[in-house]
Amino acid sequence: MNAILEIEHLTTRFATPDGEVHAVSDVDLRLDAGETVGIVGESGSGKSQLFLTVMGLLAGNGRAEGSARYRGTELLGLSRGEMRRYRGRHMAMIFQDPMTSLNPHLTVGRQLTEVLNLHKGMDAAAARAAAIAMLEQVRIPDGARRMAAYPHEFSGGMRQRIMIAMALLGGPDLLIADEPTTALDVTVQAQILELLRELKASLNGAIVLITHDLGVIAGLCDRVAVMYAGRLVEEGPVEAIFAAPKHPYTQGLLAALPRVDAKQPGDLFAIPGQPPNLQRGIVGCAFAPRCHQVIDRCRAVRPLLADLGCGRRVACHRVGA
């Protein structure tokens, strides 16, 4: 297989006035060309920080250790200038709120063509033509006219399309989408998911879809990685994990969801308790305090990701024991 991104022993810490926060803790993950990988977890699980680390977009108080290689090149430790050469051209990230990426004071056309001048050295006419073509590709009607519009003149869904267009202009082969549909209404979300589905078919690279919505992952991803408290707890093919989750947290997460397509009788399955405080160093398994299968060993020894075969990995003392 053709690895686009290889993450090994990646740890990200933040220095805060109240002590060090372990946002990402010893994560291993590999992405191959042609794959769409879903990263699921609840707030604070480290799913966004993992990829902000990879993209060199950590906040000033953040520090990363380990390794993240893009097509064999180590990204951690690159200078800001070197990193900027990779971002946009080889790897691009889109966010929940398009206004974090779009400049409200510049026309959409100016922002799109700027990417092309910067990364591809195109002249104005060629950049304009390419930008209009890209607007068409993300299904923004009347692209030539809308180039002159400012971001606020577009709806939330349209802005998300513009951000996707901007991310794709540099021709990246790694696209990281961080909760791209979370802020959108469900019928508009369906439109953007449709667009991502088309992209998946046409993009000659890998897509990472970071989301808290297991339904979005079920529809779009080939593999899923489940994160909890900064750690990767389970990873593997989407069909296999949704059909038979191995980690008690994955099991609980799937069971906790009410379904739009069926009525569950009685109460929902609720995982008791709260996620742990990442300021305190966690001994043993981070999920142990909420786990119904916990044994003494879980509280003492951190379970490592073990290979189960068939491309599945899980970090749990109770699996395969």
Binding site: T187, A190, L193, G215, A218, G219, L253, P258, L268, P272
Partner: protein, 327 residues
Amino acid sequence: MSAASILSVRDLQVSFDLRPATLFGKRRRLVAVDGVGFDLAAGETLGIVGESGCGKSTLARAVLQLLPSSAGTVVWLGDDLGSLSPEEMRRRRRHMQLIFQDPLAALDPRMTVGEIIAEPLDAFEPDLGPAVRGARIAESMDLVGLNPLMINRYPHEFSGGQCQRIGIARAMILKPKLIVCDEPVSALDASIQAQIVNLLGRLQREFGLALIFISHNLSVVRHISQRILVLYLGRLVELAPAEDLFVAPRHPYTRALIAAVPVPDPLIERAKPRLVLGGDVPSPLDPPSGCAFRTRCPKAITLCAERRPETTEAGPGRLVACHRWRE
């Protein structure tokens, strides 16, 4: 109004006059809720769904008389709330409580949890002795799964799920007949969301509470509601028993809304027919003529632009506003 109803809303309209955008511009009128009606029985949960700007929160606030309505009636246990004096309305408020989406923002950071939960009690039963008052606070905390020993803590010391429990304890302390829940689990993670949904269900069964449950999350609404009201641009498009609505939606918007929710099962999600609506919700300042949904509706015909569809009965306990629902 049927015999069992505690609340009966008819033709409710809420509108806002907006300041003109320019000095000599026209004063514009935004109709946020446009002719909506429903009944609510004691102990029943009515889900209200719709996308942002459809008027679901405005509708709930107008029902609770927290916003003035421009037309229509709200009848609570036989009284037309719009005709009551402020003092008469105040006395009825103890039976109607409200909980919000962002639990932390809804709680005063300078008050202890005990003071927050006791607020309605202090307003309606100010003469309680400290011992009884303390016992009532502890009872309410216990009811929602909060340790009464945490009574002197402050909201920031609690997680999102616990803050929502504080909000529910405050709403429950007077043992109301109705709680309006405005997106109560939308800010919570899935594992915590299930805890809160279960808690609301348990309180409802134990105390015969009626709930108005506003949410954009159709899966949660299906789970918790007996009946569901679907809004689009401030108008009722469909009202039906929950299972009927999901099994056989009558309005094209309801159908699209349900189809748009991703199902957490790869086999089902990938096999289901795609029914993706084009475009965006139109501006409520300039709603389409006739049916508000017609600009996005796959079944729209000329009639839909010419005449607004009336709300018609479409089976037992079912209402739908569509010219073509029979087809």
